[in-house]
């Protein structure tokens, strides 16, 4: 609820505001809800003046009209994508991580989500010279690993230090803190110079703390977080990556004979269907503009040197890269 402020509104002097506050009319909503004649008698303003305040409020707080040309200029000026620095992934996502939007990295535990986000953070700093903020909710950030990846790319110590200096880490342990962090970024009370990307690893770690509660506290915090994230992303033109997880459900297959006429009855007895479920619930499902699903491919025998990970684009606001996929290799030298 927005507070009533005297700025830019005629007749609404500090004296009038004080009287209103004394009568428990503090927010814009309170003011608009209140009977006009009552307001008039309280504030000793005449009716046309009250109506002028009302119309000023409507004018000031209604969403602004923007014409197409302005929009186009804005889109053209702002960078649209941050390259992930991984060729196949850039191709699959049509250029990388979208700026100003929410991106989701999703996968089972141990599927390389954190590793991919480390690599993206490194490549982002390398290619754009801008800063990355890594929000760590489970102590998974490893500077040693970052240094290891950089070392294997033959970076000089000086380059390494300058890249690592631009990767900022903040530890967050509850949803309240995370919401507060984004609020501070929005209000510019928490400023990181030249920020390009925020990576939150991981959101379920915070959201799961509310599982099993009767109230809907978690959901309401998630909603607030999404609003702030979108605002921050848009306003400062930064990419926001949330890491989500998948869980598995097993369903005993209830005979789908029409689909599977060939399968023998012996097989049917043992058919189980594994379902993968993106966490964080129905509400979150539609939030990210880009969802990347990570899946570790079956290990080729005796190759402990690298792991193949399939990345599929599940939903995207870009029609061209819908249902794309690619394979990336995770090794000690990072992801290629």
């Amino acid at each position: 609820m927005q507070k009533l402020k005297s700025q830019g509104i005629r007749h609404l002097s500090d004296g009038v505001l004080k009287i209103l506050t004394q009568n428990r009319i503090t927010t814009i909503y309170d003011f608009l809800e209140e009977d006009i004649s009552k307001l008039s008698s309280l504030t000793r303003l005449n009716l046309p003046e009250i109506l002028a305040i009302r119309s000023d409020i409507f004018e000031k707080y209604s969403a602004p009209l923007v014409n197409g040309t302005t929009l186009l200029t804005k889109v053209l000026i702002n960078e649209k994508k941050i390259t992930t620095g991984i060729k196949s992934l850039d191709a699959a996502t049509c250029g990388g991580i979208p700026m100003g939007c929410i991106t989701e990295l999703c996968g089972l535990a141990e599927s390389g989500k954190s590793q991919l986000s480390f690599q993206v953070a490194i490549n982002c700093v390398k290619n754009t010279e801008r800063t990355v903020l890594y929000v760590d909710t489970k102590g998974d950030f490893s500077a040693i690993r970052i240094q290891q990846i950089l070392g294997s790319q033959n970076c000089s110590n000086k380059e390494m230090a300058s890249i690592m200096y631009k990767i900022k880490v903040v530890y967050i342990w509850t949803m309240d803190e995370l919401v507060e962090l984004f609020r501070s970024i929005k209000n510019k009370t928490f400023v990181i110079e030249n920020l390009a990307l925020v990576i939150v690893d991981s959101l379920p770690c915070l959201m799961f703390q509310y599982l099993g509660d009767e109230n809907k506290m978690g959901l309401s915090l998630l909603n607030t977080l999404v609003n702030y994230s979108r605002f921050v992303g848009n306003e400062f033109n930064i990419g926001i990556v949330y890491i989500n997880i998948q869980t598995r459900w097993i369903d005993s297959d209830i005979c789908e004979e029409e689909d599977n006429v060939q399968s023998s009855s012996a097989l049917k007895e043992h058919s189980y269907v594994e379902k993968r479920n993106r966490c964080l619930g129905r509400y979150w499902e539609q939030i990210p503009a880009l969802v990347l699903i990570l899946e570790v491919l079956e290990r080729v025998k005796e190759t402990f040197s690298f792991t193949q990970i399939k990345v599929s684009v599940m939903c995207s606001n870009n029609v061209k890269c819908h249902k794309n996929e690619c394979t990336i290799n995770l090794s000690m030298c990072g992801i290629e």
Partner: protein, 272 residues
């Protein structure tokens, strides 16, 4: 207004590299873990069927954490949270004394001078809690910050096992919520005070799961929570029944690998 402490990766690198790890006393296993042992500030989960050496490894770490600074150790104390009644205090003491004296003997050989730590003193640096049942376990986790504040030299917390208190009397959703709240608090303390947390977990069976139906208990969401996951097993094929295998499932610094180690009366050792 809350202010957020921001670190950059260079600072964290200095911090991470300057800290010693808690050695397992098996060099092969230390190498597989990639950090010369169990990392401070992170949560390590030990998975395995009964008899695969989870408790033994915990006890070894409780002893290892006491190695004096002169030998590159932490010279610290350990907290052992026992949630399982199968494990009696007397056995705990026996095993620990054995491991302790052996560990210190070895250290003395290296230093070439006798160490001034008596067995009693070593035992005093072990804090043992028997938290049986959900209520007493949760109360313990609740009072843990206070305990750590009173015992700032505790550098290792071992919980053996995490699954036991949650076996009964709680719905799955509530369990996950509670676990994630507790782990967030625990890890905050661990990171702030540079404490290594080792948690053992049991295996459970989920029929029909891709990639093997025997998985760690507490579900897929939990698998995501720990920083390092180590699967222990007692191979049937080994000639020596004391041999154990450890498979690193998850780590943010090392890649998947297998280590062979053995459990001797002195504790965890390399296979000779």
């Amino acid at each position: 207004m809350k202010s957020f402490k921001v670190y950059d990766a260079t600072e964290l690198w200095q911090k991470e590299t300057s800290l010693p790890s808690v050695p397992t006393f098996s060099q092969v296993l230390d190498n597989v873990l990639g950090s010369d042992g169990v990392q401070l500030g992170s949560i390590t989960e030990l998975l395995g069927l009964p008899g695969s050496g989870k408790t033994q490894l915990c006890l070894q770490l409780c002893a290892s954490v006491q190695i004096p600074k002169e030998l590159g150790g932490l010279n610290a104390e350990a907290l052992y949270i026992d949630t399982n009644t199968n494990f009696t205090l007397s056995r705990f003491r026996d095993v620990n004394r054995e491991i302790l004296s052996a560990s210190f003997l070895r250290c003395q050989k290296v230093l070439d001078e006798p160490l001034q730590i008596s067995e009693d003193e070593a035992l005093k640096r072990l804090h043992y809690v028997n938290a049986f049942g959900l209520e007493s376990y949760c109360s313990l986790m609740h009072t843990l910050p206070k305990f750590i504040a009173e015992h700032p030299n505790v550098k290792l917390i071992a919980i053996d096992s995490i699954a036991y208190p949650f076996k009964d009397g709680i719905s799955t959703k509530q369990r996950t919520g509670l676990l994630f709240r507790q782990m967030a608090d625990l890890q905050r303390i661990a990171l702030q005070n540079q404490i290594a947390v080792v948690i053992t977990n049991e295996m459970s069976t989920r029929v029909g799961l891709s990639g093997g139906s025997v998985v760690g208990a507490l579900g897929d969401a939990w698998a995501h929570r720990c920083n390092v996951r180590l699967l222990l097993s007692a191979p049937h094929t080994a000639q020596d029944p004391t041999h154990r295998l450890a498979l690193l499932l998850k780590s943010n610094i090392a890649s998947t690998a297998v280590a062979t180690f053995q459990i001797t009366s002195e504790g965890i050792r390399d296979v000779e």
